[in-house]
């Protein structure tokens, strides 16, 4: 027993010592050494923050899942950098009437297993998303679809129950093969038409992809892609600096941006994203239900400081629910300027006065107190909330902070168990997606029970109007109202950051955070 033990000890010490000194040795094996299991050759190593929950595009719900499905699958369309739908699996489409789309599919496409891609796969994909029992997370986006019909092998017709303007923006969802996708295991072994095939998924640590030589847009530039799961933001950037990965994408700690930018080994891209971060006000709450309080709070939010200091300029100060990347964006809505004096006088006018001199305002013997909520996963939001707590306290509002993990926070939001919450929306490819569910009286995500018939009407109209200019006007009007009534106070327009090694070329940054352009990326040695 003792001898074995001693043997193990000796072996272990020897190996550890060897490993310490032998650093250069194995560096020769992979390009720069260390990250994940050894991979060699023509490869791009990418750092992701979480393990994908699934690899089925219909079920994808987290950023990593999207980043996998984006390179394994193709949609009928692709959204370009201006969010305009461009042909992908559908070569072209037409819009014979307000309720019908007809898509003409590419005929040269095969799935990774060699089976041809046909109209049946398209129908299958959308039928399954619409199937309630399938529990697709974004089912509501497709709900207006009445039917998907196969016209011929390479023609599909989609009919909606009413005019539904945003639909095209949502048709970039990956098409799955009918012959495989019913397998229970499909979510772990995705087979698509995209530029890369998934070859190996080490749960919680690595995902390996191999170029799909048969890709209809031509063979991808790089042979292999590896995604490494590195949950910690700081570690992930460190991994880039240590040469363990070649590319990483938001989320990053804003404070890392400057350093990497000034490091000539790396390139940093920043772009506006498709999301915003906002304060959500609960209209059911007696305190927050009072407009003066909401206005005062809004004037106490120093968006400039949050954007520039906490987010290091990665995000921009926000104004309204319409984001800059969208065609519906307008400068006309100014939002609320940072003006604590004004905030105080607004409260003063509403009768909230500090009578007992404790620094907190009262009215009718009730203290003006507010609980600020956010979730714990995003350190910057936690910092923003901490900052807001101080700002609100300074104008005489007794403010405390409550941070919860995402699922608990989500439940608080859905059950209306909050006063003011800081959170965000992503993937706002269409203004409808940014506003309908959020501000319509019947909207599924109208946590704060905001209700204004005029806004309801505008949002319904915006949805059924096809003309983009007309829609832009409608949404501008709606955004103006909700901003004035302070349903939301949009604090930030989210930005995306991509960092990669200088040698990496061909990766383009997309406001949607898409990884599709990995098919054109290559490391030049």
């Amino acid at each position: 027993m003792k001898k074995i033990f001693a043997g193990i000890l000796v072996l272990f010490v020897a190996v550890v010592l060897a490993a310490c000194s032998g650093g250069d040795d194995s560096a020769t094996e992979s390009s720069n050494g260390n990250g994940g299991s050894n991979v060699s050759g023509d490869v791009i190593r990418v750092g992701l923050d979480v393990d994908p929950g699934t690899m089925d595009p219909r079920l994808a719900n987290d950023s990593s899942a999207s980043r996998v499905t984006e390179i394994v699958f193709d949609g009928l369309v692709e959204l370009d950098e201006n969010l305009v739908p461009q042909p992908a699996l559908a070569e072209s489409w037409e819009n014979p009437d307000e309720l019908t789309y007809i898509f003409h599919l590419r005929e040269d496409v095969t799935f990774h297993d060699g089976e041809p891609f046909t109209a049946d796969d398209v129908k299958f994909t959308f039928d399954s998303i619409l199937d309630e029992s399938f529990n697709a997370p974004y089912r509501s986006l497709y709900e207006p679809i009445e039917s998907v019909n196969v016209v011929d092998e390479y023609t599909v017709e989609i009919k909606t129950s009413e005019p539904y303007a945003p639909l095209l923006s949502y048709l970039n969802i990956g098409i799955v093969p009918e012959h495989l996708a019913d397998n229970a295991d499909f979510a772990n072994n995705p087979v698509g038409t995209g530029p890369y095939k998934m070859t190996d998924w080490k749960r919680g640590s690595e995902i390996h992809f191999e170029a799909n030589a048969e890709y209809f847009n031509g063979e991808p530039a790089t042979e292999k892609i590896v995604y490494y799961i590195i949950p910690d933001n700081t570690t992930r950037v460190s991994a880039l600096e240590a040469g363990d990965i070649d590319l990483l994408h938001s989320p990053v700690s804003p404070q890392d941006i400057g350093r990497i930018e000034s490091d000539d080994r790396f390139v940093v891209h920043q772009t506006t994203g498709l999301g915003h971060t906002y304060l959500n006000f609960n209209f059911e709450d007696p305190t927050i239900g009072e407009e003066a309080v909401r206005v005062a709070i809004s004037h106490a939010v120093n968006k400039e400081s949050i954007a520039n200091d906490i987010y290091a300029g990665m995000d921009q100060p926000g104004k309204s629910p319409l984001i800059p990347s969208s065609w519906a964006y307008t400068d006309a809505i100014e939002g609320y300027e940072y003006n604590p004096e004004l905030a105080q006088s607004v409260l003063e006018d509403a009768g909230w006065v500090d009578e007992d001199g404790d620094g907190i305002r009262e009215r009718d013997g009730n203290k003006l107190s507010v609980v600020l909520k956010t979730h714990t996963e995003d350190p910057n939001r936690m910092q923003a909330v901490e900052f807001l707590q101080y700002e609100l306290q300074s104008i005489g509002i007794d403010t405390s902070v409550e941070t919860q993990e995402w699922p608990s926070f989500q439940e608080s939001m859905q059950t209306g168990d909050y006063q003011v919450a800081l959170l965000g929306w992503l993937n706002l490819v269409d203004p409808d997606r940014a506003m309908f569910n959020q501000f319509h009286s019947e909207g599924g995500s109208n946590y704060g029970s905001y209700s204004n018939p005029e806004v309801d009407e505008l949002l319904e109209k915006g949805r059924t109007t096809i003309d983009q200019n007309e829609r832009a006007e409608i949404y501008a009007q709606a955004a103006k109202i909700v901003t004035e009534e302070v349903a939301y106070n949009v604090v930030l327009y989210q930005g995306y950051v991509v960092m990669h090694v200088k040698e990496l070329e061909g990766f383009t940054v997309h406001p949607g955070g898409y990884f599709k352009s990995l098919r054109d990326a290559k490391i030049n040695n």
Partner: protein
């Protein structure tokens, strides 16, 4: 012997059931449910409601608990809500990584603790003693995550000696590679990945073991039978390393068993920092997804592992301690 092991395993049943019940109730007390997470922010309340119904989350809690216990006793850990895979499959994939990490941490703990403890005991109340104990204490005084990040900063980012995250091939693969091809490369790479996380955990564990070795060693060196050996003219080195060490080892072995539990717990944080794909990072991500079957499965697995390690420790204890061996 067999009877003893069997009895111990039987004793484990109520404990595991207790753990199952407590973890079940605790997890269901946590606000937020898997359906909400699974469907995301844009899902409608009706969709969420429907999914909850499908997942059986709307049944009364006692019914859910009963169903859960029912499946547990048939060795069915259920299916992951998020992955759709069998929980047992998921756990079996992550388990080796955690065991590898825990065992190596334990080895590092011992490598640090055994010499320090012995030196401290033999040179009791001298500078060497204080130094050893101070050094050992440093380890346990640092939050593991802090030490982990510092190690990454120092050894990966600045020195570039060790990888900053992730796991290489399993150690077993490394050994197979070594024995089939004679090449150390795979084993090397695996050990390099293992070193920093194992070190940060091992340093934590070493404090307790060091002081245990020190105090049992001091106690043993004061024993009559050591005096007997001295009276027989035995050289001091042999007295310490042979006649005292094995006796001192006995209580240490028990501590090492408990320490293993701490390591499994510490691994939860360490794995998250180092992106180590074991039970720890699995359970953390599963909690944040409210993937209850996985969390419960991991808790049961860790408890079982802990119990088995302690059973092994007890058997080992019996092997070294003739008093028990003969009863």
């Amino acid at each position: 012997m067999k009877k003893y092991i069997l009895r111990r395993l039987l004793q484990l049943i109520p404990v595991l059931l207790g753990i199952a019940v407590i973890s079940f109730l605790l997890l269901h007390m946590i606000p937020g449910d898997p359906a909400t997470v699974l469907l995301g922010q844009e899902a409608t309340p009706e969709e969420i409601e429907r999914l909850q119904e499908n997942l059986g989350l709307n049944d009364p809690l006692p019914v859910q608990l009963f169903n859960y216990l029912g499946s547990i006793v048939t060795f069915d850990l259920g299916t992951s809500i998020f992955r759709g895979e069998e929980v047992s499959t998921i756990i079996l994939t992550a388990l080796p990584a955690t065991i590898e990490l825990a065992v190596c941490s334990l080895l590092i703990s011992l490598i640090i603790a055994v010499p320090l403890g012995i030196i401290a005991a033999v040179r009791q109340n001298t500078f060497l003693d204080y130094f050893s104990m101070f050094f050992a204490q440093l380890g346990i005084s640092m939050p593991v995550f802090w030490l982990g990040v510092l190690l990454i900063m120092g050894f990966s980012v600045h020195l570039g000696w060790f990888p900053s995250f992730g796991r290489g091939e399993p150690l077993t693969e490394g050994f197979i590679h070594l024995f089939t091809t004679g090449s150390f490369s795979v084993l090397f790479a695996s050990l390099k990945h293992l070193f920093l996380p194992a070190l940060s955990l091992g340093v934590m564990g070493s404090a307790m073991i060091t002081r245990m070795i020190r105090s049992t060693m001091i106690e043993v060196l004061d024993m009559d039978y050591i005096r007997t050996m001295r009276a027989g003219g035995t050289i001091e080195f042999l007295i310490v390393m042979k006649y005292a060490f094995r006796n001192a080892l006995l209580p240490v072995i028990t501590i090492v068993g408990l320490q293993f539990g701490n390591l499994l717990g510490g691994a939860i944080v360490t794995e998250t920092i180092f992106g180590w794909p074991g039970l720890g990072s699995l359970v953390i991500s599963s909690i944040s997804q409210r993937d209850f079957p996985i969390v419960q499965g991991v808790v049961l697995t860790i408890a079982l592992l802990f119990a088995l390690v302690n059973l092994i420790v007890d058997l080992l204890y019996a092997r070294i301690n003739p008093k028990i061996r003969h009863n």
